[in-house]
Amino acid sequence: MKRVIALLMENQPGALSRVVGLFSQRGYNIETLVVAPTTDPTLSRLTMSTEGDENVVEQITKQLDKLIDVVMVTNLSGSEFVERELMLIKFKSDSFPRNTFEESNIVSKNDEITNVQVVGTSSELDKLITEIEGNNPVEIVRSGSLGISSDKTSLSTEN
């Protein structure tokens, strides 16, 4: 089962390698990984998705929490949450599937190439990829999942 873990860590050199290294070191798999600084520039937020049962995710979150650079960790998939991923797709303009996309999806277009962007859940994007297979996309780029909880809780050092 797919799990989404979010964490805040010190925005400093070496912090990311500790988090990523932990996964290989402990034999866990990372499906997707997204990192960016937060509004507090001393902190980065990292979202990762992984496969595993409840025990594995509990171990992962505990081990992550032990890392000195990690300020807080949450298992987003432990309660209701929203997950979204961005995907960019490059088509040859002559095989661009006009009916599949809105005009607003198109981010660049010339005689040769049309690029689109799509936002959705990972499974929606998986489905879309199967749908457009016949149009021979030139390149598909996915961002990896971002997540946010659906209730009032937030991952923040403020509360």
Partner: protein, 582 residues
Amino acid sequence: MDKSNKSGAEALIHSLHLEDVELMFGYPGGAALHIYDAIFNQDKVEHILVRHEQGAVHAADGYARATGKPGVALVTSGPGATNAITGLATAYMDSTPIVVISGQVKSNLIGTDSFQETDMIGVSRPIVKHSFLVQKAEDIPQIVKKAFHIATTGRPGPVVIDVPKDFTDPGYKFEFHYPSEVNMRSYQPPKAGDTSRIKEAVDLIEAAKKPVIYSGGGVIQDDASNELIALAKQLNFPVTNTLMGLGAFPGSDPQFMGMLGMHGTYQANMAMHNADLIIAVGARFDDRITNDPKQFSLGAKKIHIDVDPASVSKIIHADIPIVGSAKECLSALLQELNSRDLKLNESEISAWNQQISDWRDAHGLNHSLLELGPQNGKILPQQVVQSLYKETNGQAFITSDVGQHQMFAAQYYHFDKPRQWINSGGLGTMGFGLPSAMGVQLGYPDSTVACVTGEGSIQMCIQELSTCLQYGLPIKIINLNNAALGMVKQWQDMQYGGRHSSSTYENSLPDFVALTESYGHVGIKVTQFEDLESSMKECISLKDRLVFLDVDVDPNEHVYPMLEAGNAMDHMWLGKEEKTWK
């Protein structure tokens, strides 16, 4: 005093002094030379020059384990740093508080493959509790403060400080200020345990009919031995210790069942397997204890006290998890016991203790092997440990290397006090024994420190004999010489049809007596049982000299009991032909 202008190197050494560091172990080299000059110009922190960086880290580790104070090692960049890696991994696996300072090439050279450059932060990352790369000289005092705080609190562990050479340059000075406290938003080690769970734990204790207290290195690290003893005595519950936990409960106490696990005693393993309650304190249910976790003590409820939340329910599900320091949690448990009108199942517990006593009588270790004399004309390795025990009145610090001799020492020397038994339990590092003994001896100059080793392990760090001469360290090296890599050979005997692939030396062993003498120490050779006790007496009585007692022992002896791989804890080999299952 604390406010003056200092270079980065001076700030580093002065910070160590302010952390009460009295001695450190190290080896100089280019990137560390500014630091070495700062050491030369002060007299607060003594530096012990080892012969190999691995020795420096093991010595710092041994010092930390014996004294409870953090150990410090200093190495240079590149090969100095990589030589420290085995020592770091050893300390990491056994959760010992050490701080390793590594010189690094100048900051502008980092990443250019410059001379003696290694990415120490990267190389050491998976085997440190934390690490710091110094970014500017002014950061050194607060980094040292944080490093000691992290190394010594919560679940202790090694911390690396990697210092680029330019930040220790004597030509650049800054106003030295040492922080009085550490405040890290991302690091708050747990203290007392959850009291609601402690009440539930006592409920389970009251219900127990076949209880076992299983304690590990965490009790020793947290100086919680008194609390553990108080708990066991009040409840009259039997106690077993892990390899790392030996000494937390007195080894010669009748309530003690001996070590458990892979080479644990029959009674300890049987008690674990048949228990209805396991109180685990500062132990982590590792594979050398549980054997097959799926068949581990299926009838027992588990109370698990540990300072590391990630250790709880990692391998064995804890019915009552209590995260907190062993000392605080055991105190809270005792308090709860005393606040109740405690109703234990006394008659059932008494029957349980009788059962354990019967198991001990049936297949327990024979602690009077010396009385048997030579066996087939040979000295048993266990007899050497018993002779050492006798001659030191059970009071010596014992370090060991890794292999059969380590298990014999753990099984046959009754450790009555915590921090008396120093060994590489988690990583299993051959070569740990002698350098760690140097750390112990420097921590306790007037005590007897013996390194129980084998002819394989001792050769992995034997160069430290030279360090021992330079600093006058009168360590007693007790070499159980079976002319083979005994534990490897045992496995080959048991699982590989007796094919001794690369586990013997084909008459290439050195003359250890001559070798020791060439290093300026005393060497004594023992080949006959009749000479064992008198030679041991002579060895221990030479208070001011390092003595290498090289004892030829029966090369065919195996360590028993031994758990059958991949099975439950009641499946044990008790001898070459004897086992507990059909």
